[in-house]
């Protein structure tokens, strides 16, 4: 067993760690402009049970004791929450002071002498415990928390031997009714000790405020919402309350079913780009529960409903575990051995190449796959296929980020850690909906806003962050879809014309000429908020207010998502964001930066790994002779110097007959890519489509070979999240198919005559490090030691790089670029008068292949079309009606939800369910620089279905 595979349980220090004074950010007003933290770390030296301990001033006595190796009994305190001081079990004695203060709420002071044990303390604690136990059902042997119950443990610790009050008096358990409404956890109020941990977790950690304590004194009880069931309340099923509950009151149903785990393995969530660390708690190779990992730096012990609970798809009966082939896509599938499937694939690919040329086949790798798998697929394409026709689904989400940030700042990646948001004074969220798409980051962001940071939301739709419990955006720029660049250029106009530039930063760190050109461009009257108001629909005063707030922030941070990138001007908008950050000096320290919120778990990684047709690993262009030679020497092949086809180009080329073979690992373009009719026609035109996946997805309908894939629970490898953080994914069960995905790629390569030699994914990472300067210091040993590493990680930065562009941009001088607003071709007309935009919900994930196969379907069982009451009324549409949605390329039907979240003229839907066919209507319009599809803007008509 290594440190990441061990018996269950983590140390609980009782109260949170105190950050030494003076290392926190200054508030709005800008004392942090120097970029260096204020000095001075006040500490206190005190004595606990005779042991001397030094802690940051303000640390609780309970935590100080824990640091000294002394565990003070406690019930209401846990180190993920601020101390509350309600249970009175943690009392201590302090020399020279009267009484028995609670150690969880009493701060350590220099010179204190503290005793945690004395006959009097023991008596007091036993009395407290006795009261708790007198109102608790004593069914410990059959209780689901048995083996992991803090109440039981504390009763043992304080030496409770009898309960004088008997169990027959008034109590809370005799008639209690368990709330089983949530599919993943149950709430048995009979076991509740009203420690308030759950309420605080929901507030502090998650920020949802779904729980309260209703009633007073003996009557006080935990209540969800207005005493509703959990399912009907505001609860978003993050599981934070379950995680902190010291009893069996809030308990995972899987634990109730299976019992406590016997070992655990640290791994990484395979859903979104937050990349939360998890402890997979296991019984043998059976997952009992996934618990957010306290030491996971991306999540620090928090999770969302997907990572925490929606992992059951891994063993869903729909999993295909045997390879299958068929001659025609109309034939039934035929199960074959791995050898035969791979031999058949190789011979088909070689046949196609012999007839149509080397460039007639290619590969797509999903950004859900590990770095090592992605690296191998691009190697397979470059070395065994002999071309550069490799792409990743990052093409259809964040490719503009890669382009825009490389052009301006010099590196195709976000600039910060997630933790950095704790030091932000003004936070701008553009085209992202973190509470649904990146929930754990949203919780951190909301926490910072509750502490006083200001929030600016730029989004066509009223996302939750605009107005949610204890959160109110200072500005919501409710722009028309497709006008990001207009709004961002107008903000730049305000910053320049109102003298809000950080001139010193620009003079020192940016290219003069490029800045002068940009300045001349943005000051033009045509870029003023007033001039662009008509196009964007955002009142000029709002744009001015938001620009001033951001520019004067002190620490201003921008977070953005696919609402920025998935546009015909996606790359231009990313550039405009980088321009704003440079113009205001908001790059190169904590609390600031340009932060793409990556959709999938490994979007960053798949881009880093060279899964693009024009770039080798580490974003080095294929035309660069030196880089090519490096790989050629290592791989023993010749690499083509010309870029290959991107996903949309592959599809176009399929239709013109020059691209006929596709290896598709973990991707489902038939559902996820725009203009489904076009995609499926292209797939149908190919002669050999190979799909490697967990399930027979939509693309598999057009496949000739199906290679069963492995879930993240069956994988060894690494994911790189949106912070450039490389984290280990550890296998907790053997692949149901008998082969890991990287082994399949290797076997296919061998069948094609190019042998690769790896015994373990760690050897693939060693090769990546050997050939990629930004990864030179990354290997599994170091990852195990550090927990995770943020690239660049090499001799210059052996521990990795949490914040980028400190002191200097990666490209040397920052480069401003002109961002002319060019309206999209996708215009509204009388026939298509509404703009459709798309997004996703918390409980479902992208095409839903995984989440639809879990109880998350209970939360959101079908895609809905959101429409403004005005547009609905005009069309005679009522809430819940099924309506027709028609665009220039296709039509579908969807049930309607009437809401003022969307503005008049805009409709919105998700794309989680294949039957709703959201992508049947989206078009092949794409970003000018990268061909990232314009999912976010489609002109449509919505009409009531006759008879509906």
């Amino acid at each position: 067993m290594n440190a990441y595979v061990k018996a269950c349980g983590e140390t609980d220090f009782g109260t949170p760690q105190k950050v030494p004074e003076g290392t926190q950010s200054a508030g709005a007003g800008g004392l942090c402009m120097s970029g260096t933290p204020l000095r001075g770390q006040a500490t206190a030296i005190l004595e606990i049970d005779g042991v001397s301990v030094t802690v940051p001033a303000g640390t609780s006595l309970m935590r100080a004791a824990a640091e000294a190796g002394v565990m003070v009994p406690r019930l209401c305190a846990t180190d993920s929450l601020e101390a509350f001081g309600s249970c009175r079990l943690c009392l201590v004695e302090i020399e020279g002071r009267r009484g028995f203060p609670a150690s969880c709420t009493t701060p350590a002071e220099a010179g204190m002498k503290v005793r945690t044990q004395s006959p009097q303390l023991a008596k007091l604690r036993r009395n407290v415990m006795e009261l708790y136990i007198s109102d608790h059902p004593l069914d410990c042997l059959t209780c689901s928390a048995n083996g992991n119950c803090e109440l039981q443990t504390m009763a043992g610790v304080v030496g409770l031997r009898d309960v004088r009050y008997g169990m027959t008096g008034v109590n809370h358990f005799t008639d209690s009714v368990t709330d089983d409404s949530n599919p993943y956890f149950s709430f048995d109020p009979g076991k509740c000790i009203v420690c308030n941990r759950c309420v605080r977790a929901c507030e502090e950690q998650q920020g949802t405020f779904a729980l309260t304590i209703s009633g007073r004194g003996f009557e006080s009880r935990v209540a969800a919402g207005q005493s509703e069931s959990f399912m009907n309340s505001e609860c978003v099923s993050c599981g934070a309350c379950v995680n902190v509950c010291p009893t069996a009151t809030l308990m995972e149903k899987t634990v109730i079913d299976k019992g406590q785990a016997e070992h655990s393995v640290i791994t990484t969530c395979a859903y979104c780009g937050v990349g939360c660390g998890f402890r997979a708690e296991m019984q043998g190779s059976d997952v009992v529960r996934m618990v957010p990992w306290k030491d996971g730096r991306a999540n620090e012990g928090h999770a969302c409903v997907k990572g925490r609970f929606a992992w059951g798809y891994a063993t869903h009966p729909d999993r295909v575990t045997k390879p299958m082939i068929r001659a025609k896509i109309t034939d039934p599938w035929c199960e074959v051995s791995w050898e035969e499937a791979l031999r058949h694939t190789a011979s088909e690919f070689r046949r196609i190449q012999a007839k149509h040329g080397r460039n007639s086949i290619g590969g797509i790798v999903s950004s859900r796959c590990t770095n090592e798998e992605g690296y191998l697929v691009q190697k397979l394409v470059r070395a065994a296929f002999g071309n550069n026709n490799v792409d990743t689904c990052a093409r259809v989400c964040h490719s503009p980020t890669g382009y825009g940030l490389k052009q301006t700042l010099g590196e195709s990646a976000g600039t910060q850690t997630f933790k950095s948001v704790e030091k932000s004074d003004v936070i701008v969220v553009i085209g992202a909906n973190p509470s649904d798409g990146h929930p754990v980051f949203a919780s951190r962001l909301k926490r910072r806003v509750r502490e006083g940071a200001q929030l600016i939301v730029i989004d066509p739709r009223e996302i939750d962050l605009v107005n949610s419990p204890h959160i109110k955006a200072a500005h919501h720029l409710k722009l028309k879809p497709g006008t990001n660049v207009a709004v961002l250029s107008a903000m730049a106009h305000v910053i320049v014309t109102e003298g809000l530039l950080d001139e010193d930063f620009i003079a020192e760190r940016c290219e003069d000429k490029a800045f002068a050109d940009w300045r001349e461009f943005v000051v033009r009257p045509t870029n003023s908020p007033e001039a662009l108001e008509g196009a964007s629909g955002v009142p000029a005063a709002e744009v001015r207010g938001a620009a001033r707030l951001y520019a004067r922030a002190g620490n201003g941070a921008i977070y953005y998502g696919l609402g920025v990138t998935e546009h015909s001007q996606g790359s231009t908008a990313v550039i405009a964001i980088a321009n704003l950050a440079m113009a205001t000096g908001n790059v190169g320290r904590e609390g600031v930066g340009v932060n793409p919120l990556r959709g999938q778990n490994n979007v960053q990684g798949s881009c880093d790994m060279g899964s693009f047709p024009h770039e080798l690993p580490g974003y080095r262009h294929v035309s660069d002779t030196l880089t090519r030679e490096l790989f050629e020497r290592d791989w023993g092949v010749v690499i083509q110097p010309e870029p290959g086809l991107r996903i949309p180009n592959m599809l176009d080329a399929a239709l013109d007959g020059s691209f006929l073979g596709l290896y598709c690992q973990g991707e489902d373009p038939a559902q996820s890519d725009p203009n489904t009719t076009h995609v499926t026609a292209a797939l149908a035109a190919m002669e050999c489509v190979v799909v490697q996946d967990l399930f027979l997805n939509e693309t598999a309908k057009y496949a000739h070979v199906f290679l069963p894939g492995a879930s993240f629970l069956e994988k060894d490898g690494t994911f790189t999240n949106a912070e450039r953080r490389i984290s280990r994914v550890r296998r907790v069960m053997t692949p149901l198919t008998g082969m890991a995905d990287w082994e399949v790629t290797m076997a296919l390569s061998k069948a094609l005559g190019y042998e690769m030699h790896y015994a373990h994914p760690s050897e693939i990472m060693d090769e990546i490090g050997r050939l990629t300067p930004t990864f030179a210091g990354v290997n599994y040993e170091k990852l195990d030691a550090a927990g995770s590493l943020q690239w660049p990680c090499n001799d210059d930065a052996p521990e990795g790089t949490p914040t980028m562009h400190v002191g200097q941009f990666v490209r040397g001088k920052g480069r401003f670029l002109i961002t002319q607003y060019v309206p999209t071709d996708e215009k509204i007309t009388r026939r298509f008068p509404l703009l459709l935009t798309t997004g996703r919900v918390l409980s479902q994930y992208n095409v839903g292949a995984q989440t639809r196969r879990t109880a998350n379907a209970d939360f959101y069982g079908a895609d809905l079309l959101e429409i403004h009451p005005h547009d609905a009324e005009e069309r005679g549409i009522r809430d819940g009606d099924r309506v027709g949605v028609e665009s220039r390329v296709g039509s579908t039907t969807l049930p309607v939800s009437i809401t003022e979240r969307v503005q008049p003229g805009v409709v919105y839907t998700t794309f989680h369910f294949p039957e709703s066919g959201a992508n049947v209507v989206t078009t092949d319009n794409s970003d000018w620089a990268t061909n990232c599809p314009e999912y976010k803007v489609t002109a449509v008509q919505v009409s009531r279905l006759v008879g509906a």
């Binding site: 460039n359 050109d517 024009h614 035309s623 010309e642 991107r646 180009n649 176009d652 620089a929």
Partner: protein, 76 residues
């Protein structure tokens, strides 16, 4: 591949660089973008439109950029 689509994509690239103050540099940048991100078969097909009536659909900046690529078969 559909020539119309290639022309549209090339014009979108042109629209970004058209805003740059130095036209000669913009021509180079459009050419470079096509060289760096387009598969040769796409470039060749677009190049073949020069001198045909399709050429008229190209933005002048794109046409000039293509002309610089046209000196070798696919530009490299």
């Amino acid at each position: 591949m559909k020539l119309d689509n290639l022309i549209k994509m090339a014009n979108q690239i042109g629209a970004f660089f058209e805003a740059m103050p130095d036209r000669a540099q913009a021509v180079k940048d459009v050419a470079k973008h096509l060289m760096n991100t387009w598969d040769p078969r796409m470039r060749e097909q677009l190049l073949a439109s020069l001198g045909t009536e399709e050429e008229g659909k190209l933005k002048p900046l794109v046409r000039d950029a293509l002309a610089t690529l046209g000196r070798s078969e696919s530009g490299r």
